[in-house]
């Protein structure tokens, strides 16, 4: 983040549509900014759940990502899946239409939450390289600032689609990278935890001995590029932790080998979910980890996940947890 005092909130509802608010003073005051996100040109159709063509319709912003290279550049991933860019700090938005117009676009199909572009990663070395993920189309990379997009789903296997090795159609839930090694990507897929060592060109499964490889968020430790965290969820039909035990799993080897982190987390009768944007890290020396639940708790660890405390409870469903290190 270029300017730590620059914050964005996007809220949308069926009454008044999409709103975007911006704070330039670290959240003390907020102002409404551009909320018009129009698709560029003819919109065409994608596939509906039953395989029939369905017109592309803007529903809401799923994820806002300020550029790490330019304070005035903000990215937004939306439903129905498309990528928008603001070059004036949120005052106005323009679509990067090559993604939606990708040759596979008319075959994209929504996941349970809709056809949403929910994840945007940036390469700290190159402002023109971005990674995005769409449920349930898959992951894509651009190396030219959004002029062209490449599906990067080779090695993903989804047994719930007719062609398990298809170029697109995979329900990617979340992506993560460490800035010191941005060619190494980690993915939590609908099922399977995956790793790519070549910027998404190929993926290998690293689920190892997880009690379930279904889940939503995945994050990387602030100072250990091979240390990653997931929170297993029982299945796509049962959105709660296996055995009702809320366990964060940590791998210090970039996957395959996992350890359960349970100290301070409920180990019986816990039936919450953890959504894809509801887990974050800080950059303090011991690396704090934070996540929120659909039951309204926010848990924090100040020691890389070894122990946890409840720092907030009784909130509504937690959709997003963002952390800023202020020291």
């Amino acid at each position: 983040m270029v300017n730590p005092d620059l914050l964005f909130v996007a809220q949308a509802n069926d009454w008044f549509g999409q709103l975007v608010h911006r704070s330039t003073d670290g959240g003390t005051t907020w102002e409404q900014v551009g909320n018009t996100l129009n698709y560029d040109g003819e919109t065409g159709t994608h596939q509906w759940y039953d395989g029939t063509p369905h017109p592309w319709e803007f529903r809401r912003i799923w994820h806002i990502e300020p550029s790490i290279h330019d304070e005035n550049v903000i990215y937004a991933g939306v439903e129905d899946a498309a990528m928008f860019k603001s070059s004036d700090c949120g005052a106005s938005w323009q679509e990067l239409p090559a993604l939606r117009n990708h040759s596979t676009g008319n075959s994209w199909q929504p996941g349970a939450g809709g056809l949403c572009l929910h994840t945007i990663l940036q390469d700290p070395r190159d402002e023109n390289r971005l990674y995005i993920a769409i449920s349930a189309a898959g992951a894509f990379r651009t190396d030219d600032g959004g002029e062209t997009w490449l599906p990067i789903n080779k090695g993903l296997r989804s047994d719930y689609i007719p062609d398990p090795d298809a170029e697109v159609g995979h329900c990617v839930h979340n992506l993560a990278l460490h800035p010191s090694n941005p060619d190494r990507l980690f993915m939590q897929k609908h099922w399977d935890v995956m790793r790519s060592d070549n910027a998404g060109d190929e993926w290998v499964e690293v689920s190892g001995d997880l009690p379930s490889d279904f889940g939503f968020p995945i994050v990387v430790h602030a100072h250990e590029p091979e240390t990653i965290y997931v929170i297993p969820i029982l299945s796509d039909a049962y959105h709660y932790p296996p055995e009702g035990k809320l366990r964060v799993y940590r791998s210090r080897s970039g996957g395959h080998d996992w350890e359960a982190l349970t100290a301070g987390l409920p180990q019986e009768n816990c039936y919450v979910n953890i959504l894809r944007d509801a887990m974050s890290i800080d950059t303090l020396p011991e690396c704090g980890i934070y996540f929120g639940t659909t039951g309204g708790q926010v848990y924090a660890s100040t020691d890389s996940g070894d122990t946890w405390t409840t720092i907030v409870r009784d909130l509504p469903k937690v959709l997003s947890v963002e952390v800023q290190t202020l020291t």
Binding site: F16, G17, Q32, T36
Partner: protein, 98 residues
């Protein structure tokens, strides 16, 4: 002067008061009233109508003299009682919360 009653929820999301008085030139239509409202309170742009198509959002309705005028052509002239300020143009958001 046209009197417009704004949904109370929008008092949180914009600086529009509950009742607004607007100059709207004839013919008085729903679209012209909302145009004038958005011009006076730009934060409301896109909240009542889709910004691209300008169609009324499905959970927003318009009333004049207790009559639902939501489904009239939004460019058709509204009752004269609106133009002389006797009746307000009510913008109503669908009831939420169960």
């Amino acid at each position: 002067m046209i009197r417009v009653i704004v949904p109370s929820q929008l008092g949180v999301l914009s600086d529009a008061p509950r009742e607004v008085e607007l100059d709207v030139s004839a013919p008085i239509t729903a679209n012209r009233v909302v145009d004038a409202l958005e011009s006076a309170y730009p934060d409301l742009k896109g909240m009542l109508r889709d910004p691209l198509t300008r169609t009324r959002r499905p959970m927003i309705r318009y009333f004049v003299a207790e009559e639902d005028v939501s489904h009239l052509d939004p460019d058709s002239e509204l009752p004269a009682t609106l133009a002389d300020g006797k009746e307000p143009f009510w913008i109503v958001a669908a009831i939420s919360g169960g």
